[in-house]
């Protein structure tokens, strides 16, 4: 069962990922991203991260990708990107080397260390029908004890996001003419 889930989800993830990097049209790429995100969410569930799976779907698939699409539409940059040519010579082989290299090295490390990772503990509370918020509770305990400081710091991050939009979107004097044109 678990294998089946894993394989299906992995397939979603990878297909989506490949879609992101190969679809000419940015809208299609964004939609492929959604596929990946859903796959990830499934895998979250498989790892007892029910709350995160939900957040993944809501925040990522829901909010972030929508934001992407919104920007694409807003700017009208949805014309297809011509991926058949590569202006930078050697860029693609280089990318391939890097991609395979990075993944390969990490996989090699994981394989080398997998014996210690075989054990799958039971310390994570999964959301069960009996205790639907067990996972949430456990997570929140972690967030509000060990990571309370980190949690506070995220507030600054969001503040920056706010300021950022202000800075980036504020019209500047002298820019009207140029932009309205």
């Amino acid at each position: 069962m678990e294998l089946f889930v894993f394989v299906c989800a992995a397939a979603m993830v990878l297909v989506g990922a490949v879609g992101v990097i190969t679809r000419n049209n940015p809208v299609h790429a964004a939609l492929s991203l959604v596929l990946t995100l859903f796959g990830i969410a499934v895998l979250f569930v498989a790892n007892n991260a029910h709350f995160l799976a939900a957040v993944q779907v809501i925040v990522y698939a829901g909010a972030i990708v929508v934001l992407f699409l919104f920007v694409i539409m807003l700017l009208g940059v949805d014309q297809a990107e011509d991926l058949s040519t590569e202006p930078l010579t050697a860029q693609r082989p280089l990318a391939l080397v890097v991609g395979i290299g990075v993944a390969g090295v990490i996989i090699a490390a994981i394989v080398k260390s997998q014996d210690a990772l075989l054990v799958r503990g039971t310390g994570i509370n999964s959301a069960t029908p009996e205790d639907a918020d067990a996972n949430i509770r456990q997570l929140s305990r972690s967030i509000f004890s060990d990571y309370v400081f980190a949690f506070e710091v995220t507030s600054v991050l969001l503040l920056i996001a706010v300021v950022g939009t202000v800075v980036m979107s504020r019209r500047q004097r002298g820019q009207h003419v140029e932009e309205s044109a």
């Binding site: 990490i106 509000f144 990571y147 503040l159 920056i160 300021v163 950022g164 202000v166 800075v167 004097r173």
Partner: protein
């Protein structure tokens, strides 16, 4: 942790005093933004003044903590997530000084470029928060958040000059590459977490020491360390992760470049030291060679690449890379357990370099003129005639960066070289000094333009008050520290060994109750 049914969650005690510098900064941001939006037009220069006050208050708060730490010893705050020690406080003070000086430059710049407003200052302050968090974090997640706080602010700052295409390009480049490297960093955290069971630096250290089961998982841990190193090396612009630096430094608004090169560097190096020294003292033999190579590459590439540049901002960018190499020499020396001198040396270097680089960019800002675009060597021709005092100050900064004695740059370099020599890393020390010779060529080139070349136009440059104050302060500081550095060194010497504190922190017997 396993108290499954402990419904009443007991949060960790929070030492408000301990994080008072952060609170001051955060308060400053809020006030700036709130009042800025309520009263849209502040009197001329008051954003700047306010930011300076906030940063000074931050520094004051840090000073107060400094005495406390001196008296009571370092401690861990808020569930061991934040370290309150001299190292963090010194970085905080350095960052605060950077903001104060950078704000002074920014004031006139914003008005000149016609986008005055509280946002840029607010971003300075949020970046500072990120930096302070990075420098004092004792947890990889906290560190990551601090890093992102800093980075996001910097991306925005880099792109903030919206009339200049270069600024926008710089912002985008920085953002894409920054996100890219953050992903690596984060992956490193994940793998480290997987191999040690914790994201807390102290706990990682104790998990890796002794015969805990985690000491088995070496490959994954090491790759994790490597990935984190990538992220931090990107931030400190170590070669070959420096590629963004010249473009971003050149494209970003000049005061922002100064900020990136000062506060950004301080935070990044502090974080690098924290991670390596606190968490992985047991893996020194693995990461030291990597740092060694990075340091050498950074030193050489930074110096050599600068040689043929013609844009002063870009030159200074490469010079900052070269300086990063110097700092890496100090990091390499810090690899030796128990050598706190290296930590002190790196921090001192950071502080002194921050002032120097701000001073240099302050001059660049003034020379660049409206549009922030006159930054080639030719634009500096005859500065010695047009503005002798400012040219002299620039000369002082450049000479200091070249490591001339009787300037703070020498003290900085000397400390690092001394740290390296004390752990007998002679080869890297010599390479560093030779790189400094190559780098000196670039400073000489600027000085040639400033003093020895004939001026193309003789119009007197107007030096705005803020920039003038910043330049003067920086120059005086440079000379004073160069001639009489005792007080500063005595202070930085208080920085104790991070690794020891970390071990103390997780050992309940020696842990001082927080708050």
């Amino acid at each position: 942790m396993n108290a499954l049914f402990a419904e009443n969650l007991v949060g960790p005690s929070i030492s408000w005093m301990g994080i008072s510098p952060l609170l001051v900064l955060l308060g400053g941001v809020c006030v700036l933004l709130l009042l800025g939006s309520i009263a849209p037009r502040w009197p001329k220069g008051s954003y700047c003044l306010f930011t300076v006050v906030v940063s000074l208050a931050t520094a004051m708060a840090a000073m107060l903590q400094w005495h406390d730490v001196t008296k009571n010893g370092p401690k861990m705050l808020i569930a061991d997530a934040v370290a309150l020690d001299h190292f963090a406080l010194l970085a905080t003070i350095a960052i605060a000084i950077s903001i104060a000086l950078v704000s002074l430059i920014t004031d006139d710049y914003l008005r000149r470029e016609d986008y005055d407003g509280p946002e840029v200052y607010a971003l300075y302050l949020t970046a500072a928060i990120g930096g302070v968090v990075m420098a004092s974090s004792n947890d990889l997640i906290v560190l990551f958040l601090g890093l992102e706080t800093l980075s996001l602010s910097l991306y925005l700052l880099a792109a903030s000059h919206r009339k200049r295409a270069e600024s926008q390009e710089a912002g985008l480049k920085y953002f894409v590459l920054g996100g890219f490297s953050s992903a690596f960093f984060l992956y490193g955290i994940a793998l480290t977490y997987g191999s040690t069971g914790s994201t807390n630096l102290s706990k990682i250290a104790s998990a890796l020491s002794g015969d805990s089961p985690f000491s088995q998982i070496d490959a994954m841990l090491l790759v994790g360390i490597g990935l984190m190193l990538v992220g931090l090396a990107f931030k400190v612009s170590a070669v070959p992760f420096h590629v963004w630096t010249p473009d971003v430094y050149e494209g970003a608004p000049s005061p922002v470049t100064a900020f990136m090169a000062s506060a950004g560097k301080i935070a990044s190096f502090a974080a690098l030291l924290r991670v390596l020294v606190v968490a992985f003292p047991t893996r020194i033999d693995d990461w030291r060679p990597a740092i060694w190579v990075l340091a050498v590459l950074t030193l050489l590439a930074g110096s050599i690449l600068a040689v043929v540049q013609t844009n002063v901002k870009r030159m200074l960018a490469f010079s900052s890379i070269s300086h990063a190499g110097f700092l890496l020499v100090g990091v390499e020396a810090a690899g030796h357990v128990g050598d706190k001198d290296a930590l002190a040396a790196v921090l001192t270097y950071l502080l002194l370099y921050a002032v120097l680089v701000i001073g240099s960019f302050a001059v660049v800002t003034v020379v660049a003129g409206k549009g922030d675009s006159h930054t080639t060597l030719d634009d500096f021709r005859g500065l010695g005639k047009r503005r002798p005092a400012m040219a002299l100050a620039l000369t002082v900064f450049l000479l200091a960066q070249a490591g001339m004695p009787a300037t703070s740059g020498f003290i900085a370099k000397f400390g690092v070289i001394k740290a390296a020599a004390e752990v007998q890393s002679y080869s890297i020390a010599i390479i560093a000094m030779l790189a400094a010779v190559i780098a000196a060529f670039l400073y000489l080139r600027i000085m040639v333009s400033v003093w020895l070349a004939d001026s193309t136009d003789d119009t007197k440059l107007a030096v705005p008050t803020g920039a003038g104050i910043a330049i003067t302060l920086a120059a005086v500081f440079t000379i004073v520290v160069g001639v009489y550095p005792g007080w500063l060194l005595d202070a930085t010497r208080m920085v104790s060994n991070l690794a020891t504190i970390a071990v103390q922190a997780v050992d309940p017997a020696t842990q001082t109750p927080a708050g």
